[in-house]
């Protein structure tokens, strides 16, 4: 198969912020699970129901003879999740040690690292927004009408693992990246801020947008799960579409496109 030309596809700002976000999200996820483990339950509303039930998820542990069982309760339905959620390694904790930083219970350290990377993520996201508005990169992420017409075909091609390597992002890439950058990450930052009692004093109206601090915490957790899902699909797509080419483009900016060019993506 003939090789297509190398094109300069990723600007330095895109590449730099990509890696800052990758590192930040890694630490935010694992310290976030550490923080969650301090009270491994999620609720809807303003407060946590101790004498009434507004829980949507509880990762609990129950003594069963000699062994400790992990019990995950989702909207009142119980599941045995011993070894993964609720109890693992004979100890009661929401998420297992391998999924948290530090690996043992240390809420204070988890918080320090979480807030540090919350800053690196927020500030680089802001810098990226400003520079992308100025250099037009934002427009490259917003699907055009012709993109949307190509959507069914693009879905079909991805499902058949047939990847086109064009000069521009295909419509599924645009939707995924725009969804993360314009919806999920801003949601993460805003729901995170809504858990701060001092920020609540500054912007009490934001609590009403979510329906209370505990709902904000639940949304924060749900968006985390969506970001993990994005990460898994993102890595899978890279591996399937040609990991060396994809890695070169996000490290050096240079990307080898298909010989027939990018008629499809245009």
């Amino acid at each position: 198969m003939a090789k297509g030309p190398l094109v300069y596809r990723q600007r330095i700002m895109t590449r730099l912020t990509h890696w800052v976000w990758a590192v930040s999200l890694f630490f935010l996820l694992l310290t976030g699970l550490q923080i969650f483990n301090a009270h491994p339950a999620l609720y809807l509303g303003r407060q946590s129901g101790f004498e009434f039930d507004n829980a949507v998820l509880v990762l609990g542990a129950r003594q069963d003879g000699d062994s400790l069982r992990g019990v995950t309760t989702v909207l009142g339905h119980e599941f045995d999740t011993t070894g993964l959620l609720g109890a693992s390694g004979g100890e009661a904790h929401g998420f297992p040690g391998w999924a948290t930083i530090p690996s043992y219970h240390d809420l204070a350290t988890g918080r320090v690292i979480h807030f540090f990377f919350a800053w690196t993520l927020s500030l680089t996201l802001l810098a990226w927004f400003v520079s992308s508005l100025l250099n037009g990169h934002i427009r490259e992420l917003i699907p055009t009408p012709s993109d949307l017409r190509a959507l069914p075909g693009d879905v079909l091609n991805h499902a058949r693992l047939r990847f086109h390597h064009g000069h521009r992002y295909n419509v599924l890439q645009k939707l995924a990246y725009a969804g993360v950058l314009f919806v999920l990450l801003p949601l993460m930052i805003l729901t995170g801020l809504s858990m701060s009692p001092s920020f609540n004093a500054a912007a009490p109206w934001l609590l009403d947008v979510w329906g209370g601090r505990q709902t904000a915490r639940t949304i924060h957790f749900a968006v985390m799960a969506l970001l993990v899902l994005f990460f898994l699909v993102h890595v899978l797509m890279i591996l399937l579409a040609g990991p060396l080419n994809e890695l070169r483009s996000i490290l050096t900016g240079w990307y080898r496109i298909d010989p027939e060019g990018d008629s499809h993506a245009r």
Binding site: H39, Q47, W98, A99, T109, A201, A202, P243
Partner: protein, 254 residues
């Protein structure tokens, strides 16, 4: 790229993910006073400065009686075993006094009736524990700003220490009693009260009887229970509190 090579890379990637994650013990070595820890903790200063800037003197959200749906969940020490505390409780706090000392013109020693005779403030607020849970309750007490005004702050006054009667930890060198501290920005905030009442009744022992601090724009650990003394100082002499000495941020606003 040949299809079989791609497939092999996918499989390797999927298998490597848990191995990568279980490597997180790599990040366990973060000594309390190491350079990395200091770098990370530097972000706390930025967080604190930002909160001061955006929240200014704003009030924490207040709620209605309909939002009080349960008893106030207690945390930390819920029944002090200290002999002096038990003796004071047995005598219905008749011998208990709150001392106000340090950088003040007029040191005070106030009884519970003294505090109750001062103008009171009642507020229904949400208590947020650092662990992540929240609970709404009604608090009644005297604004700390009124007590500090009566004691008359000296010009060098910058911080206020809150000394508790409960022993939170027993070590080799004896017991450690709970303590906390705030700057004047939060000490003089209108919602910062010394609470003696909760949900329409007297403050229960598990929630800090006879007197506890409420600082509504910060997390639960900043609100010392079982108060015995208030000390006004020009500068903090330590990390500012029991949990702060154990790695928690001094400004508990997030």
């Amino acid at each position: 790229m040949p299809a079989d090579l791609s497939r092999r890379l996918v499989l390797t990637g999927l298998l490597a993910t848990p191995a990568l994650l279980s490597g997180c013990k790599v990040f366990d070595r973060l000594p309390p006073d190491g350079a990395t820890r200091n770098l990370f903790e530097g972000a706390n200063e930025l967080t604190h400065a930002t909160q001061k800037l955006v929240a200014r003197d704003a009030l924490a959200p207040e709620f209605t009686r309909a939002d009080i749906r349960q008893g106030m969940r207690p945390n930390g020490v819920t029944n002090p075993a200290d002999a002096d505390y038990r003796a004071l409780a047995a005598n219905a706090w008749a011998d208990w006094r709150l001392t106000v000392t340090g950088a003040v013109e007029k040191p005070l020693s106030l009884s519970l009736p003294d505090l109750m005779a001062m103008p009171s403030r009642t507020q229904i607020t949400r208590h947020d524990c650092v662990e992540g849970w929240s609970c709404i309750a009604e608090w009644t007490g005297v604004q700390l700003s009124r007590v500090l005004a009566e004691a008359k702050l000296r010009p060098e006054a910058r911080y206020v220490y809150f000394r508790s009667m409960d022993t939170i930890e027993r070590g080799l060198s004896g017991g450690i009693k709970y303590w906390e501290s705030h700057d004047l920005r939060d000490a003089l905030h209108p919602q910062t009260i010394l609470a003696y009442g909760m949900n329409g009744g007297p403050l229960p022992v598990r929630n800090g009887a006879p007197l506890r601090l409420r600082v509504e724009r910060q997390l639960g650990y900043k609100m010392a229970k079982y108060l015995a003394g208030i000390e006004v100082v020009p500068a903090l002499a330590d990390k500012g509190g029991y949990w702060e000495e154990r790695g928690y941020d001094w400004y508990g606003g997030i």
